[in-house]
Amino acid sequence: MKNLLTVLIILTLCSVTYGMQASSKDQCYNCHAQLGGEPAELFKYDIHHKVGLSCSDCHGGNRNSDDMEASMDKKRGFIGVPKGDGITEVCIKCHASEEKMAAYGFKIPTNQFELLKASVHGGLSTNGKDRIVQCITCHGAHGIVKVTNQRSPVYPLNVPKTCSKCHSNSVFMRNYNPGLPIDQYDKYRTSVHGILNSKGDPKPAECASCHGSHGIKSTKDLNSSVYPVNLPSTCSKCHSDKKYMAKYKIPTDQYEKYSKSVHGIALLKKKDLGAPACNSCHGNHAATPPGISSISKVCGTCHALNAELFASSPHKKAFDEKHYPECETCHSNHLIITTTDKLLGTSKDAVCTKCHTQEKLPKGYLAAKDMRNMIDSLKSAQMFASKLIDEAEQKGMEIEDEKFHLRDAHQAVLEARTAVHSFDRKKFDEIVVKKGLSVTTEVIKDARASIDDYYFRRKGLGAALIITILLVIGLYLFIRNYEKEQKNNL
């Protein structure tokens, strides 16, 4: 304890001496500190002040002169308060130079300005001359501290507030993107990330965690970290990091599962932007797992018919009572694989038997079995019809109409798969039997007729040929006899 006290005294003395040395050389700061005011007050804590930079390094002038006129002489490069892009120009004198940064003992990136220029914030502001955002917009001016310092406006806990200065300002935002919502900050505060952030936990995602910092792109930009195809990997930066997530005690295999799911394959491999990314189900700024009773609503944003049928089905009430997570109960969540008819029925792959067995809830068991049999029958009939159409086509028959009608049968199979979610035999029957099987039967009848017609044509040709050949022979004999008679008459 004694040793610690000694060290602290030595350190305090050293820093005071260093401060005196620095300030003693910087006449700008000496005068402005005596005069008082916010800039000088803030500059006291500024990282730049601490490494020995003077006011004149940004504002120009002579730091060594205590004469006001001489120190702020324009001939000596005094520029006063930089404006517009001039502000950033001042910052990048050092921050775009690796050598200068190294001279001050920093190894931080020097490409911030390049990133900013190419970012959505690097566009021209409404005055048509300067960029929308300058360095000081986010980092502040005279009180700049390290990002890891809690006083910094870009410290994780402060980032949402910093961004919201503009992004929650409707008057400001409508100048640039009137269509962009301005409720991100409010939503964020309701999200799991935002709640933890407001509790002082700097680890959960804030704006920059997902959107980046200097090089923020429009969400419509292919290179944006939140462009739909890139979003899952952006979320997985934290959510797949076991060490990082250990504290929160939640699984870290979501990305792995998602990338193998039907949604993940569609979005990540097939680049189908219609497929859902993480935010489609969890929300983006208000990201949170959907509640058990709202899962069908979330899935229903895309699978509308299925959700509607489910909501009016007997399963909705039963699931709510048992606290089953609706769609997820049968289809799982992140690892949703392509749904096949195997899920329906009573076979070992079927999900219905999870609850319905012959002994327990036998009515549902029988209904599931029947529904599966019916959809299988429809598929078999469809395959048979397709085979007959192929055969007729190979025989050169015109069968386009039947081919077209077979699409209705295929459509009925698709509709039947949707109708399963009503868990209502009657509704299912209407589609499978009345629509699907009746169309397929009609197609089979027509295709068969076409094949029969093929054989009829050949038989008809045979008959016609026999008649014509007989006529030819008859005519030939007639000509022979006639000419014989002609010769005899001569």
């Binding site: 050169g396 015109e398 069968i399 386009e400 109409d401 044509r457 050949r458 008809g460 040709l461 016609a464 040929l465 014509t468 050949i469 006529l471 030819v472 005519l475 030939y476 007639f478 000509i479 006639y482 000419e483 002609q486």
Partner: protein
């Protein structure tokens, strides 16, 4: 049976006096010699034309000549109309055999020098009918409004457009505008079912009257024989019955072709899609199409394609006027040059058609 026929003949004769006509036809003779077989191709061409008219009228009951409905109506004929497939297939095959038969008939007349005095007009009307038959084929090909016919018409009308001076207006006239559109279909439909049959029938009538008035041409070697030495048969009923026999055989061939190789329909024409690879015209235009391919881009100051078209035009004109410049045959002398030119033309057409087919 015989008595019944005689009674019927008598019944008709009492009313319309056909005896005179029969006697007139009975007095007309057809020369009999080693090349008599070729005489029948005129009759076969006529028979195929009659089939075209009959099947064409039947198709017209259901066909709709607009770009929106043409394809669908042909599809309807093929799949829903009773024997519609048969009528369309016979129409399509008969069209091809009709042109083939005209080719054979024309070359047989050429090699026999039957165009010589006094049958110059018969030759000219025959040649005009040949050209009309080609235009029948060209206009009818587009009517199903399928992919192949659409692009073949585009290529065909492009070639017509390359003819100097009259080409561009001719192309616009055929197409009914800048490109092949529904207007082209309406126009070619009109030509195919109204204008061409009308003109063709008139010229065919003149052609047949000329044949009846002048009789069947004798080959040069027969002309020198004495009347008694000449072998011949009455046109009616001997030659006509033989004609009928051949027509029945042709009908059989047509039926076999229509059943075993029915006319295809393909896909509906889409003016905005790209042309399918290897687009070719119908076989009877193939030799010209293939020849034009061999012409270089430019020959001296003239474009290769234009030169090719001009040469074909000149050859066609020479062919049309052969009765007028082949004075030797007109005098009853053998003209070997005519034979050599004819053999060259036949070989040229066959070889170029094969090359066009396989390329």
């Amino acid at each position: 049976m015989k008595n019944l026929l005689q009674k019927f003949y008598k019944w008709v004769d009492e009313r319309v006096e056909v005896k005179g006509l029969v006697e007139y036809m009975g007095k007309k003779y057809v020369p009999v010699h080693r090349n008599s077989i070729w005489y029948y191709f005129g009759g076969v061409s006529l028979f195929l034309f009659i089939i075209q008219v009959v099947t064409g009228i039947l198709l017209l009951f259901y066909y709709k000549g607009s770009s929106d409905l043409a394809f669908e109506s042909v599809k309807f004929i093929m799949s829903k109309v009773q024997f519609g497939w048969l009528v369309r297939s016979i129409h399509a095959w008969s069209a091809n055999l009709f042109i083939l038969s005209i080719f054979i008939h024309m070359f047989s007349v050429y090699f026999e020098k039957s165009y010589r005095y006094p049958r110059e007009m018969t030759w000219v009307t025959g040649f005009i009918m040949f050209l009309l038959a080609l235009f029948f084929g060209f206009s009818g090909y587009l009517l199903p409004w399928n992919e192949l016919s659409f692009f073949a018409t585009r290529v065909g009308s492009d070639i017509a457009g390359a003819v100097p001076i009259i080409g561009p207006p001719l192309k616009t006239f055929i197409r009914g505008g800048e490109d092949v559109t529904g207007a082209t279909l309406s126009r070619l439909f009109g030509f195919h079912v109204a204008l061409l049959p009308g003109i063709f029938t008139i010229i065919l009538g003149i052609h047949l009257i000329l044949i009846q008035r002048q009789g069947i041409s004798e080959p040069l070697h027969m002309e020198k024989k004495k009347e008694k030495e000449k072998k011949k048969m009455p046109f009616f009923p001997n030659f006509m019955l033989r004609d009928l026999l051949l027509w029945l055989i042709v009908l059989n061939i047509l039926a076999i072709l229509a059943v075993y190789f029915p006319a295809e329909l393909g896909h509906k024409a889409d003016p905005f899609s790209s042309a399918p690879a290897g687009i070719k015209p119908e076989w009877y235009f193939l030799f010209m199409f293939q020849t034009l391919k061999y012409f270089p881009g430019h020959v001296l100051f003239i474009e290769g394609e234009v030169l090719g078209i001009l040469l074909f035009g000149a050859a066609g004109l020479l062919w049309l006027l052969v009765p007028f410049w082949d004075r030797k045959s007109a005098r009853g002398e053998h003209n070997r040059l005519i034979n050599y030119l004819g053999i060259f033309a036949v070989m040229f057409i066959i070889i170029l058609t094969i090359l066009g087919w396989v390329s």
